[in-house]
């Protein structure tokens, strides 16, 4: 049974305006669907308020009132009447968007759609939303504190915030984050509470996990076997950096629905396996060894057969500064193949840093393009005529073939840069 506080009742009764009433109404329907008993307060929202793809831009064109308010009222707040959106009441950032504002022509996005994205961005700015335009807010200035309650979208950011930072958020959606932006409330369910954060499944890691690709494949395996449950990984894992944790979490939240994991001896709520399980007996125990690694590698390369590579995509989740440094260093002053395109995606903040460091210029001199805001899967955009892509992200390898019907090779960043330089795929399973 859901209990509301006085300020929540006031919002629901319309004493803080129509838009907050609609927002609170949606949150109440959502909390009741979950079976939640109360809300938690949040001061940190990451969503996509007011944004619209081509379908939504077209759908809401003639629905009355300013287009931004129509999309926000009818879609974000799921309301049946047009309301004027007030500014965000809590710190709210905008996640990834649909097109790079500089390179949209290269990306192949139509001008009218780009103008639509610009209008949607101006709408969000007018409501006090911070335009980070990235799936990696934790690399672009929004780094939550341990124990902080969040209302975040973006599965790869959610798993990072919970597992690496010890912040608390479920995988929220478009509508719940927009409602949280106007209320500072989100249902007290799941990972906001102590018990659901404890481990349920154990993964024994039976081989050394070092390189980024090792972490990506281990994440893909883990998500596949535990689905949306909470794995505790135990074994020979070298302390991972941000890039490795980013690739592990993105993979685990793509092959399954993992929103929280524990690396025994590494992540903050897992000083040891016993603490991570918190008294739970593991429901299932899985081994990850050479045979499982080979299965994951083969699954991620299952639909690729043509070794001529048209397109190399890096930056899923959005590249960290050190990944742009690494790509520039691997290109080493050479030009990429005339038959191949290289696009690397990152956030606006990291691109600024890469510009200052000279990495963007080095990648461009080689024939590559550094883009912001989006990625090939999100924008559904690849170079014209692409039939075969090469990727260093298990998440992107999971999504891109399904979304665009391409062949996709999966391998190391080095395999991908080599494919960009030679036009040929020569990757092999790590051993």
């Amino acid at each position: 049974m859901l209990t509301l506080t006085d300020d929540e009742k006031a919002m629901l009764d319309g004493r803080h305006g129509k838009a907050r009433q609609k927002a609170m109404g949606l949150l109440v329907r959502y909390a009741e669907a979950l079976g939640a008993e109360r809300f938690v307060d949040t001061q940190n929202v990451a969503g996509v308020p007011g944004s619209a793809n081509a379908f939504l831009q077209n759908y809401y064109k003639d629905k009355g009132g300013p287009e931004g308010d129509a999309i926000f009222s009818f879609f974000d707040l799921d309301a049946d009447e047009l309301v004027e959106a007030p500014s965000a009441v809590v710190h709210t950032c905008h996640l990834q968007g649909g097109a790079d504002p500089l390179h949209w022509q290269t990306l192949g996005v139509r001008e009218e759609i780009v103008r639509g994205h610009e209008a949607r961005e101006a709408f969000a700015v007018s409501k006090g939303v911070e335009i980070l335009k990235t799936c990696t807010p934790y690399l672009a200035g929004n780094v939550p504190a341990f124990g902080e309650h969040l209302a975040w979208m973006e599965s790869s950011a959610v798993i990072y915030a919970n597992s690496v930072l010890g912040a608390r958020t479920n995988t929220e959606g478009r509508e719940s984050t927009s409602a949280a932006m106007l209320t500072g409330k989100i249902p007290d369910f799941g990972l906001h509470r102590d018990e659901p954060r404890r481990g349920t499944h154990r993964v024994n890691v039976r081989l050394p996990i070092e390189a980024v690709i090792d972490w990506g494949m281990l994440g893909y395996f883990t998500g596949d076997v535990v689905q949306e449950r909470i794995p505790v990984l135990v074994g020979d894992m070298r302390p991972p950096d941000i890039v490795r944790l980013k690739h592990f979490g993105a993979a685990a939240s793509s092959s399954g629905g993992v929103e929280m994991y524990h690396l025994a001896g590494i992540t903050p709520e897992a000083p040891d396996p016993e603490t991570a399980f918190g008294g739970n007996v593991p429901e299932e125990v899985f081994d990850y060894g050479p045979a499982q690694r080979k299965q994951v590698y083969d699954a991620l390369n299952a639909n690729a057969s043509d070794a001529d590579v048209d397109y190399v995509m890096l930056g899923c989740p959005h590249a960290a500064l050190e990944q742009l440094r690494e790509a520039a260093a691997m290109l080493d002053g050479r030009r990429i193949s005339a038959n191949t395109r290289l696009w690397i995606f990152t956030s606006r903040a990291v691109r600024n840093e890469a510009d200052a460091a000279g990495f963007t210029a080095a990648i461009q001199a080689a024939g590559g393009v550094v883009m912001t805001d989006t990625c090939s899967a999100f924008a559904q955009a690849v170079p014209p005529g692409t039939k075969v892509a090469a990727l260093d992200s298990a998440k992107q390898a999971h999504y891109l073939p399904a979304i665009l019907g391409l062949q996709a090779w999966f391998g190391t960043t080095r395999d991908c840069i080599d494919a960009a330089l030679t036009g040929r795929w020569n990757g092999v399973c790590p051993s």
Binding site: L26, R29, M153, E175, S253, G257
Partner: protein, 136 residues
Amino acid sequence: MIVLRGRKVVGGRAQGEALVTHMTVPGWGGVNPVKGVITETRHDLRGVSFAGKVLVFRGAKGSSGWSAMYHTTRLAGTAPAALVFNEMTTKVALGAVVMRVPSVTDFDQDPLDVIETGDWVIVDGDCGVVEVRKKS
């Protein structure tokens, strides 16, 4: 006729042919909401339309775009008629709310053991009751 009793997620009453998967159902990146079909490679419902069906499934998985994708199915006229599922998560709860279709979970017996694709299913969201007429 078989009767399953569970808990209301979204109220209302609807009926239709069952479309059953024992797998979790993907959202953004694994579904085409305008066409109303699952597109994820290696999914057993790949290419199958869920429009107007009673979708019987384990739970939701994948991206946080789940709710927005299924919200879009309502606008596009391709939404399922009702949802019957086992595992409650924020993705499926919010998706069911904004799809505005009768939805029930927390059953006294596993609907995946009882319902097969092609069975006729009547979902009463308000009472949390699901009636199943087996295909002959």
